[in-house]
Amino acid sequence: MHIMEGFLDTPWWQLWFAVSIPAILYGIYKMNKLVKEKREILPLLAVAGAFIFVLSSLKLPSINGSCSHPTGTGIAAIIFGPAISAVLGTIVLLYQALFLAHGGLTTLGANVFSMGIIGPLVAYLIYKAGMKANLNFYAVVFLATAFGDWATYLITSAELALAYPAGDVLTLGGFLSSFEKFALIFAVTQAPLAIIEGAVSALLFKYVVNVKSDILVEMKVIEASVVRKLRGIPA
């Protein structure tokens, strides 16, 4: 869910930039280190970024008639980890603002924080925890993507509520009451959207495992033994 251009008032959009920029710089630092180690990773990152952009511009089938797009960052987080996802997410969000008019330039910081940093981070943590607990890979992908989306949407509601608390002055009560309203109304579109995106992501990984699982093994997303189990091949 993108916050539109001009929606955040003066102290807030700068604040979200200030919060996001260190995370992006850390991501760039990690990326540079990775590229130095393995030079072939940069073109891969580039195509992954383009893949996220194209994925996020596809319309999801919707239940309630609202026009909804996947964020695609959950998949990036599972494959590349949250730090690099933040960099890819920033570039993708910039292009979305410029090409599709989703989001904006002053609100880029806030959008990067919710969609590029917190969403992927939550997705990544759930993915890691789920894989450690030996759950089914597809179920874990579903949960990671869905919860990543929900985290994004809650953070976006919080960002809006902080900028527009009930009763004009920022108090905890005003923030909570405003947050509740933003979250409640956006839940109509965002709650089913996250489930649909989770299902599509799980299906996506299912086809990838069936057709070209060596990519995932090579990127250390899943281990070879898990792939064998998923495809029903005895070790």
Partner: protein, 260 residues
């Protein structure tokens, strides 16, 4: 999704103007819009930018209006929430909705109108940039700033591959649609999953090929760009400064104005 705005920028006559000037106009508009306290200045900015984009930039008017309406869903929802739940002043209207009592207050309405006008001006500024300046020109500008080299390099590669994969996605989607892949909800989920995975695998292979191709051409992490030197002309400078001054004056004059 077939509507990539960059195509229009490539045809715009304003493409051949100085990039820094255009960027300055856009940034000024964004900042002035966001820091104004009455809806008058943002509306003025929106009008000026819209006029410039359509009349001087030759963007199709129909397309422009359609673009402005596109993000309306989010804007209207957000603005309604602000209008109905914020503020503490005089009540204008109150009614009950699903058990919630809803109050429309004077300052809430004012804030909502301000936010709406600011978004509108922000959108117009963005569209001015997008519809007159192709991304290729912006890369040259980005190179001149001190952003990390790898970040810019990555942006350029992503930009290139967006078009490759978008074409791929569109043709796969057509193929799926004519085979009734989107005829029901569960089928669309399945088709979308397949489309995503095919895209993913193809992009991976493309990435390998790209590395090979660039490596064999001695890629060392830097692509050099040719930046066309375009001096700012006097009429452009005059028009821009007139616009800046007028906006600033309006910003100052409407500091305490209220329209409700």
């Amino acid at each position: 999704m077939t509507n990539i705005l960059d195509d229009y920028a490539l045809m715009s006559p304003l493409r051949h103007r100085n990039n820094w000037l255009k960027l300055a106009i856009v940034l000024f508009g964004l900042l002035a819009g966001i820091s104004s306290t009455s809806p008058v200045t943002p509306l003025f900015i929106a009008f000026c930018m819209g006029f410039t984009t359509v009349a001087l930039g030759r963007a199709p008017l129909k397309l422009y209006l359609k673009l402005l309406l596109a993000p309306l869903g989010f804007a209207v929802t957000g603005v309604l929430i602000i209008a109905l739940f914020s503020g503490s002043g005089q009540e204008l209207l109150s009614f009950k909705l699903m058990g919630y009592s809803v109050l429309l207050r004077k300052d809430g309405l004012e804030l909502a109108l301000l936010v709406l006008s600011r978004s509108l001006s922000g959108m117009c500024c963005l569209y001015f940039l997008v519809l007159t300046t192709p991304m290729i020109e912006l890369f040259a500008v980005l190179k001149a700033t001190r952003l990390p080299e790898s970040f810019i390099e990555l942006s350029m590669l992503i930009y290139r591959y967006i078009f490759v994969f978008l074409g791929m996605a569109i043709s796969i989607r057509y193929a799926q649609t004519v085979r009734l892949g989107y005829s029901s909800f569960s089928r669309s989920l399945r088709s979308l999953g397949m489309l995503g995975s095919t895209l993913f695998i193809r992009s991976w292979e493309q990435g390998d090929k790209l590395f090979l191709a660039m490596n064999s051409r001695c890629y060392d992490g830097k692509m050099t760009l040719f930046e066309v030197h375009r001096p700012v002309r006097v009429p452009e400078l005059l028009l821009t400064s007139a616009y800046f001054l007028l906006t600033l004056a309006l910003l100052y004059l409407t500091k305490n104005a209220s329209i409700v």
